[in-house]
């Protein structure tokens, strides 16, 4: 699709006669409420329905800035942005063109963040305008003045009044009414919406389902009677089997088909929902979710299980990773296979617990004592969230290594359709081999070329050994022999180079050589590729590369860089602005991938990074590209 190309005339529509239908290649809209009013559920359901109808879709949760925000406060804005398109959607886009807001304060939050397009249509709950509390009425009036700085087209909706006709507590029903509004405006297939509601309330009574359907229908009816337009984002006929879910669910399913049977974890946002979903299904699948007493115990249990023959995994986020570091070193040293999922959030410290960041790359790679080579992978789509678990498990076992999967809050909660995985029983971990071992079998029997060695597990006669985090020889006997420490360090490290020799060079999106190469990793891929495509359409010489493997990196990067005049990494982590006070070429702290790339390739890789706690928008990246290339022309 050519993004941003559509001219949305929605707000210029005149008052209602017959609703006019606007056919557009894509549309972005948001639903925002106080937290607890269900806007997130509603938005995610809508995204799933759209995907199931055959639209491209991408959802991003809007998460309150506070934990127990007072009602009707900008800090409490909670909801979802949904971007749907005729073709595949890979990121959350730029500004929203339509908003459904449950009060004017949460709307203000989005307005102040610049999230709303100047000509957007806003469906706003009207009850506050005539509220009995004069302070509320005053806030409403002030808000409308503030909002009038833009050309928003505001439609007042009596949500509360309409919902009260059906339920006693509209706080619990408004989101379904809103789903009805959206379903009418976007011409959704009502049966699919109802099926989604049925799935959402599958653990509840038929009564609950029916009440929600009545709310949905009320919303649709109101919209049909009062709205002057509908938006038709045509669906392509679905030619492949697709599934739609969020990244954490995909990860959990991937863990099952990979044959991982123990998820040992400690709750931490935004990783926890992997374990929520697994807890629902794992028992029936011969698996265990073990909620340990802390993150240290969680990884310890996983290491113990893996040592005993079952490759286990642990899921966490930044602060949990910090606690696990000593144990990660032990797994590296004892060559115990292990999969760790780090769903990255904003840091340092407790940081932005619910928001996206890509700041754990260097700490994962280097953030522990001693040399501890490990594999790092970063899925960039929800489909990759599913499949990476199979790859991670396989590498962990074949190489006897720790494999860290770095996802982020954006992938964790984002909903997107993707090609349905064709499951293969061959993905599953092999049975534990408990056959006796020949005399002289050694637990660390390194192949001196590759560093690889077969794993011995308890139960194998003749294999008895003590795994140890102390320096050791091929028999796992403690030794402080200088040459042995040199050799064992080499052996543990060599495995990364061997793994790299099995990888292909990264795919270049766009021409093979060009003026500018953008490079990124993880969830930013969609926004970067879309931005590069827009820039190319404007005649700029931009290509892009996404790295799935960060350690070892995919091969051939230096050679690729040589074919571009400039290279720039785009990341969601902190870097100094080169023009900020005191900052110069020497002291400038750069993005995390940027830093690695400069060290590896000796190329002067520049970076543009942001830590706004939100995904990158393609429009911002286009601006960066234009600036970068015009600066070059000037120079």
């Amino acid at each position: 699709m050519s993004p941003n190309s559509q001219q949305d005339q929605v707000s210029s529509l005149s008052s209602k006669t017959a609703a006019s239908v606007h056919t557009l290649p894509e549309h972005i809209f948001e639903i925002v409420s106080d937290s607890g009013e269900g806007a997130q559920k509603c938005g995610q359901s809508f995204g799933a329905v759209s995907a199931k109808m055959g639209n491209g879709a991408w959802t991003v949760e809007i998460i309150p800035a506070e934990i127990q925000p007072p009602p009707r406060s900008p800090g409490g804005a909670s909801g979802v942005r949904i971007r749907i398109g005729t073709e595949k959607i890979t990121n959350w886009g730029n500004q929203t063109k339509l908003v459904i807001a449950f009060n004017e304060q949460v709307l203000l939050a989005r307005h102040r963040q610049g999230a709303i397009a100047d000509d957007a249509t806003i469906l706003l709950e009207e009850m506050w305008e005539s509220h009995q509390d004069p302070k509320v009425r005053e806030q409403w009036a002030e808000a409308l003045v503030e909002l009038s700085s833009k050309n928003y087209h505001i439609v007042k909706v009596p949500m509360e009044v309409e919902c009260l006709k059906i339920v006693d507590n509209p706080r619990k029903g408004k989101n379904m009414f809103a789903l009805g509004l959206m379903s009418w405006i976007y011409m959704r297939d009502v049966e699919k919406v109802k099926a989604q509601i049925a799935m959402q309330f599958r653990h509840k009574s038929q009564d609950v389902y029916e009440r929600n359907v009545r709310l949905l229908e009320a919303g649709m009816t109101w919209a049909a009677e009062h709205m002057s337009f509908q938006i038709n984002v045509p669906c392509l006929e679905v030619t492949e089997d697709l599934v739609v879910m969020n990244g954490n669910t995909a990860l959990a399913m991937g863990a099952v088909v990979a044959g991982l049977e123990l998820c040992s974890m400690y709750p931490i946002t935004p990783a926890t929902s992997v374990s929520h979903y697994l807890s629902e299904i794992y028992d029936d699948l011969g698996g265990i979710v073990h909620q340990a007493e802390d993150e240290i115990a969680a990884i310890g249990v996983a290491i113990g299980a893996s040592f005993a023959g079952k490759v286990a995994f642990t899921v966490t986020s930044g602060p949990g990773m910090a606690l696990k570091t000593e144990f990660i070193g032990l797994a590296v040293m004892t060559e115990t296979p292990l999969v760790i999922v780090d769903v990255q959030r904003g840091g340092p410290s407790t940081g932005l617990p619910t928001k996206v960041e890509q700041s754990d790359l260097l700490s994962t790679l280097y953030g522990m004592p001693g040399d501890s080579p490990k594999v790092i992978m970063a899925p960039s789509t929800l489909e990759e969230c599913f499949h990476c678990m199979v790859t991670a498990r396989r590498i962990a076992e074949a190489f006897r290594m720790v494999v860290v999967v770095l996802t982020d809050a954006n992938l964790a909660t984002g909903v997107q359709p993707f090609v349905r995985p064709v499951l293969d029983a061959g993905w599953h971990a092999p049975e534990i081999d408990l056959s006796p071992l020949p005399e002289g079998s050694r637990p660390m029997d390194w192949d001196l070329e590759t560093g690889l060695s077969p794993r011995i597990v308890p139960g194998q006669k003749g294999g008895e050994f003590t795994a140890t985090g102390l320096a050791h020889d091929q028999n796992s006997c403690v030794t402080y022999d200088p040459a042995m420490n040199q050799l064992s360090s080499e052996m543990r490290s060599r495995k990364l180079a061997v793994l790299q020799s099995t990888l292909s060079p990264p795919h270049i999106c766009g021409p093979d050589s060009n003026d500018l190469l953008l490079i990124g990793w993880g969830s930013t891929r969609g926004a970067i590729e879309e931005a590069a495509a827009i820039a190319r359409a404007k005649g700029l010489g931009v290509s892009s590369v996404n790295l799935t493997f960060l350690s070892p990196m995919e091969p051939g990067i230096t050679e690729i860089f040589k074919r571009f005049k400039q290279v720039m990494a785009i990341e969601i982590n902190y870097s100094d602005d080169p023009n900020a006070p005191y900052i110069n070429e020497e002291n400038r702290r750069r993005g995390q991938l940027t830093t690695l790339l400069r060290a590896i390739t000796l190329v002067d890789v520049d970076c543009w990074t942001r830590v706004l706690g939100q995904p990158l928008s393609p429009g911002d990246i286009v601006d960066v590209i234009e600036k970068k290339l015009s600066a070059e022309v000037k120079a």
Binding site: L285, G287, A297, G300, G304, A305, K310, A312, T466
Partner: protein
């Protein structure tokens, strides 16, 4: 995660017989006179008495002098990191309930850096034999105060004497939900030590044995009185307790204690007097690895299940 099918064992003629020596691993490198030697010998003896298969036995430890233990036993072992033996052991047992798991920890290992894991491992009540080798000091790192160091005892970190009264590991253990086997013994009471280890191994659940352990280098006198004079040690006796005629011959101060009585157990655990024997045992508590037992599924069954899940999420 269930154990490999027991049918595998049927008809196999494993007629191996193991002597104590068969369990001897590397040569123990503890100081001469260290109580750990006596404990190691008792453990070798236990393994021979129980005829545990070396390949199906795992010794897990943390870091400390006492945590060198797994290297000195010819079974599988995992010499972990300081304070974290119990999570590793938990993982081993969750993955492989068919394995016999032993844990050895020092007092710093268990009651200081690993205290959180200790509390929770008691509550999980996983079937494992857990030995706290308590020399009242940090041995490996050379004489720093441990939580069990007596108040006033001079160490390298509290040179004028340790500030606080010591933490009592028995009381602590007895205070935790699901504590199911709590005993105390001493390295210098070989016969009692052996009988206690056997009872601990026989218990189905988390068997916690605190072993008073001499450190001839850093705490040579801490247990001197008890070693010299059998009268200062109370032996808990009961038909359901630790039965050992040799002990009874020497240790005349006997306290009749029913190990089913948790309140009396807690009372006896208090105070400065050295008491050995079985404080508490209850076989009725659920074991975590049993609560979490799941039926093994084939890869094909799992693929079918996930396919059904994908149907639910299908477009």
């Amino acid at each position: 995660m269930s154990s490999p099918c027991s049918l595998l064992e049927c008809g196999s003629t494993d007629d191996r017989h193991f002597e104590m020596d068969d369990y001897a691993g590397k040569i123990a490198r503890w100081c001469p006179g260290c109580g750990d030697h006596a404990i190691l010998a008792a453990v070798h003896r236990l393994l021979a008495i129980e005829q545990l298969k070396p390949e199906k036995t795992v010794f897990v430890s943390g870091i400390g002098c006492s945590s060198r233990f797994p290297h000195y036993v010819e079974t599988y072992g995992f010499h972990g990191i300081h304070g974290r033996a119990l999570p590793i052991a938990t993982g081993v047992k969750l993955a492989r309930p068919d394995l016999d798991v032993f844990v050895t920890m020092g007092d710093g290992d268990c009651t200081s850096i690993g205290a959180g894991h200790w509390i929770h491992a008691i509550r999980y009540n996983i079937d494992m034999t857990v030995l706290l080798l308590d020399n009242n000091i940090y041995g490996l790192t050379k004489k720093q105060t441990s939580p069990t160091t007596p108040q006033g005892f001079k160490t390298n970190t509290q040179t004028k004497g340790s500030f606080l009264p010591p933490l009592n590991p028995l009381q602590t253990t007895l205070g935790v939900t699901n504590a199911s086997f709590v005993a105390q013994t001493a390295d210098w009471m070989p016969s009692h030590l052996a009988a206690t280890l056997q009872a601990a191994k026989a218990h189905k659940g988390f068997s916690f044995v605190r072993i008073l352990q001499r450190c001839p280098v850093f705490t040579p006198d801490i247990f001197a009185a008890a070693i010299k004079d059998p009268q200062v040690t109370d032996v808990l006796s009961h038909p359901d307790g630790i039965q050992d005629a040799n002990t009874d011959k020497i240790y005349k101060s006997q306290v009749f204690h029913n190990p089913g009585d948790i309140h009396e157990a807690r009372r006896l655990a208090e105070g400065d007097r050295v008491r050995v024997g079985l404080f508490f045992r209850d076989e009725s508590f659920p074991r975590y690895e049993e609560l979490r037992q799941v039926t093994k599924r084939t890869p094909e069954e799992k693929m079918a299940f996930i396919n059904a899940e994908l149907d639910r999420h299908a477009v």
